[in-house]
């Protein structure tokens, strides 16, 4: 990749969210962000885990070196408890490999593989938190399927781990749907102490603000040798409404073949990549959200839809209560043309 002057994201990238996360990490509080597909959470995890631009001291101060953010990707989970513990342990080991290693415990031999994997994870977490006085915030990315499938006893182990390391261990969970709805099969809400850890801290991960969207476009443009002018970037920003993946998709399409029509919405709506991304966004919503979204797009919403509309506004998909507007005119057009 071409070395760009503009970093992929700036110091004040997602300022509100990063502030919240860092405060939570310092105090050992867990939290969850619910964001639509493609909303750019990879930059958040990248910043917390790797910090390529060395922004962390600005947010974490003198605790920068003692707070660690191992990341696991729920999409690569093999649907077994053993697999999950191994993922967590591998992520933690990779993130803290520069720290002293715990001594091996020869007294206990676990008979079952999943118990061994959990035991190894516990040993490492306890060593880091209790002996080395470190703080850990596990980033559980794309955690939808894990919450949905469980089982509940597996999820409760997260609470058990945290109980042994109160104030030093916490979780940052990313999902596309509401976590308690995902976990409805095993009644996550009301039955799960793990859910209780973050139940009062479930936030909507909205779309990029203007500064972050413009930073991303500038970064992409510089990386491609500045094929697009300022006017083009401004149009892309207004077409995509701060949706990170749509920004990337439309930027690449424009760079490959600049539109020759002024009807940019219709032009890009015809492109498969754009339709695919819009479809991903729509399918990532709850069915109830999808239904209301389609009605709103066709101006067929009813009074009963108001609660869901408010909810979609909290998620950043809709704005302007007086005359509802979608974050992206391309997405709005997609919804109007959507036939299922």
């Amino acid at each position: 990749m071409t070395n760009t002057i503009t970093p992929r994201y700036g110091l004040t990238y997602r300022q509100s969210e990063i502030t919240l996360i860092c405060e939570a990490a310092k105090s050992g509080q867990s939290l969850c962000f619910v964001g639509i597909a493609g909303t750019g959470k990879s930059n958040i995890t990248n910043f917390l885990h790797s910090d390529p631009y060395n922004y962390k001291p600005h947010w974490l101060g003198k605790e920068t070196g003692t707070i660690h953010f191992p990341v696991i990707d729920g999409n690569t989970w093999d649907q077994t408890p053993e697999g999950l513990w191994k993922q967590l342990l591998a992520a933690l080991t990779e993130t803290t490999q520069h720290l002293p290693q715990p001594p091996a415990d020869a007294k206990i031999t676990q008979l079952y593989q999943d118990q061994k994997a959990l035991s190894d994870l516990k040993a490492r977490v306890n060593w880091l938190c209790q002996e080395q006085k470190q703080q850990i915030m596990f980033i559980l990315d794309d955690f939808d399927r894990i919450l949905q499938l469980g089982p509940l006893p597996m999820l409760e182990q997260f609470n058990a781990l945290r109980s042994e390391n109160r104030g030093r261990l916490s979780y940052l969970i990313f999902t596309k749907k509401l976590p308690h709805v995902l976990g409805r099969n095993h009644e996550l809400k009301g039955n799960s102490k793990f859910y209780d850890l973050f139940s009062n801290h479930i936030y909507a991960l909205g779309l990029y603000e203007h500064e972050d969207a413009r930073q991303m476009l500038t970064y992409l443009n510089e990386g491609a040798g500045k094929p697009l002018g300022t006017r083009d970037l401004t149009i892309i920003e207004s077409l995509t409404g701060g949706h990170a993946r749509l920004i990337k998709v439309i930027f690449e399409l424009w760079r490959g073949a600049p539109p020759e029509t002024a009807d940019f919405v219709a032009y890009f709506l015809e492109k498969n990549d754009v339709r695919d991304e819009c479809q991903r966004i729509l399918r990532g919503l709850h069915p109830g959200e999808q239904e209301v979204a389609l009605r709103v797009a066709r101006e067929e919403e009813t009074a009963d839809d108001q609660e869901v509309i408010d909810h979609l506004m909290r998620r950043g998909l809709l704005s302007n209560p007086g005359k509802l507007e979608w974050f992206s005119p391309v997405f709005a057009a997609f919804l109007r043309s959507y036939t299922g």
């Binding site: 509100s16 969210e17 919240l20 619910v34 649907q79 077994t80 408890p81 079952y112 999943d114 499938l149 469980g150 089982p151 509940l152 006893p153 509401l178 308690h180 709805v181 409805r184 099969n185 095993h186 009644e187 039955n191 139940s199 801290h201 479930i202 936030y203 909507a204 991960l205 909205g206 709850h286 069915p287 109830g288 959200e289 609660e307 869901v308 408010d310 909810h311 909290r314 998620r315």
Partner: protein
Amino acid sequence: MDIFLVVLFVIAGIIAAVYLLPWQMQVVPEEERLVVYRLGRFNRIAGPGLVRMSKLETVHRTFNAVDKPRNIRIDGLFMRGVPFGYTLNLWYRVDPVATAGDDPAQLTQLIHFDDKERDKLVGTKVREALVASATQVGNEYKPAGDAYFYNVLPIVPGLPINDRLLTLVREKLAQTLPTIGAILNQAQPITIVGLNISDDLIGSFSRERITTLLREQFPGLSEEVTLEAVGAIAGIDMGRTRISVENSGNASVAIDEQGGARIFMGGNPRSTAANPTAAQPAKPAVAQPTPAPVETLSSADLGVLKRVK
């Protein structure tokens, strides 16, 4: 005239008796019982039949006292690393008087629950019994091999290890249900009428492979029971199809490892009286896909999400 006056006085007397005498009558159906309070405090359980109450007494609530079967669904169970859920059918009746015995304080505690609350408590007791029994059976079980599927077998209805699980559940419920004013009918079996296993868990196993593993683990099982177990795992309706063979009496049908029908003459060797579904009209033995849970968002659901300030 005198006779007329006498009749008038008698009628007036009856009317006065009804309104002025200090008691009231109520007819209570066979399946109900009344919780009677006197001056704001629990006095007694009354019914069925004609119940006489003083004007100082009120009926605080009624409850259903019928001994009948109920289906109770319990999810979120866990045995040997396998997540699963059951819908159990069990018979019980609500009888706080019998369960409290000679302890009036205990009776006073037990009458506070209405039918809905008590059903919830029964569900809790069933869950407790299942969790404890699953743990015990999971520890006792010796799988025939290392394949993950062997860990699934103890939860499969019809297999001997699963019968052991149900026996333990029955023993525990016989002890714990009376503590909430209910009595298990031990003359009726506890039956698994629904088994919930994740499709992902079973998806990679063909029906033939499942059948092979079952035969390895339980070589003494009859063919019919083996196929019934395979059907349960594959999600086929737990009820058994019955067909009438002309001049040959009844027979039963199960789906074999290739998906074809196998007919067993002379009915099910396992008592069909134990299967409450046998009392229902015969259903076709077609695999029913587990319906996806309907995902609706309530006001409470929508209120969970906060905006970052």
